[in-house]
């Protein structure tokens, strides 16, 4: 056992002396933390918006089940879940990279992430904030393009009628 221990010290210090092992600079971890935070926040925001878009898409095509399902399949923005999953994978990869000593339970992270996204999407939808954002915020262009591509006329010009106004107009 003592021989093993002697080897440990010699080997570790030897690698440090030879320059085979180098300390990562502080900026590496600062940038890692910033990128992780920005990545996760962006991922949540994009996912929340996409949830809103999905709900909007479902409502915009009316109550006819078959038509709705068909519309959903043909016009559904399939890239959106891909982007959300990519964001999640990148986020977890960043966490692993910059928080190496933590043994994270990634199943819990994924479950919490999905729960947060869906709850936030639902809350935003209920309060009508997402509709306000799609009319005024940076997502306006994207939403307009989606409506044009799918021949939906939501009468944006008719005026804002409260938090659920847009829904009332469309339905």
């Amino acid at each position: 056992m003592s021989k093993e221990l002697k080897n440990i010290k010699e080997s570790v210090m030897g690698k440090i002396h030879q320059g085979k092992v180098k300390m990562r600079p502080r900026i590496y971890f600062v940038m890692g933390s910033v990128l992780t935070f920005v990545g996760l926040v962006s991922s949540v925001l994009i996912s929340v918006f996409l949830i809103g878009l999905m709900r909007f898409s479902l409502r915009a095509h009316g109550p006819m089940g078959e038509y709705r399902a068909e519309q959903l399949l043909t016009s559904f923005p399939w890239w959106s879940p891909a982007v959300a999953i990519l964001g999640l994978v990148v986020g977890i990869w960043l966490l692993r990279q910059y928080d190496f000593s933590y043994k994270l339970d990634y199943k819990i992270i994924v479950v919490v992430f999905v729960a947060v996204v869906f709850s936030a999407g639902w809350v935003l939808d209920m309060t009508g904030l997402n509709e306000a954002l799609t009319r005024r915020g940076p997502m306006q262009g994207m939403m307009r393009q989606y409506l044009e591509e799918n021949n939906i006329q939501p009468e944006f010009g008719a005026g804002w009628r409260g938090p659920r106004g847009l829904r009332t107009i469309i339905e």
Binding site: K9, V12, M13, M23, F29, D99, S101, K103
Partner: protein, 182 residues
């Protein structure tokens, strides 16, 4: 003179110096922890060569990522955590069941004076712990062999203190059942 003074510094103070000016001082950290970490790793892996590799790799990882360590926290918990992760990786690769060392000694109310009886008890404990899932045996090892506080175990295993207490309590009960059965 300087060397003696450095040896009296706390882990966190040494880490601060290693990061800012003198990487040579990392040898003091290695010296301080290598035996304890080797014992801990060997308790989990039960293979001296693999345990030595795990400890060596952990020291290297700790050094490379030393700037991510928060000096306001305990270095000991941080390095134990790294060893834990490395040991888990080795165990996952080998799919090997854990067991306990020969010199394992649990605190007991019983006054055991006879060496023979003591060895018999240790052998029984070893058998019992070997049958116990790592979920329960690892907190026991950290508490009674590594003599860590509940707070430190919580930091090392990244579980709440309440969970540590529950697992240790259940581990004791489980141990009793397993030992009685044997």
């Amino acid at each position: 003179m300087n060397e003696e003074r450095n040896k009296k510094l706390s882990d966190e103070e040494i880490i601060g110096k290693v990061r800012s000016s003198d990487q040579e001082l990392y040898a003091i950290i290695v010296e301080r922890y290598q035996s304890k970490l080797f014992r801990y790793a060997n308790n989990l892996i039960k293979d001296e060569h693999k345990s030595a590799d795990v400890v060596q790799e952990s020291f290297i990882k700790a050094f490379v990522n030393l700037n991510s360590f928060d000096t306001k926290k305990k270095f000991s918990s941080w390095i134990y955590r790294i060893v834990h992760n490395e040991a888990m990786n080795v165990l996952k690769k080998n799919k090997k069941e854990i067991s306990i060392p020969d010199d394992m000694d649990f605190q007991s109310d019983e006054d055991i004076e006879d060496d023979f009886i003591k060895k018999e008890v240790v052998a029984k404990v070893e058998k019992c712990l070997g049958e116990m899932p790592m979920l329960y045996s690892e907190p026991l090892i950290l508490r009674f062999i590594e003599e860590k506080s509940y707070e430190e175990i919580s930091d090392i295993l990244r579980i709440p203190m309440g969970t540590v207490a529950t697992r240790i309590s259940r581990a004791k009960i489980l141990m009793k059942h397993l030992c009685q059965k044997n």
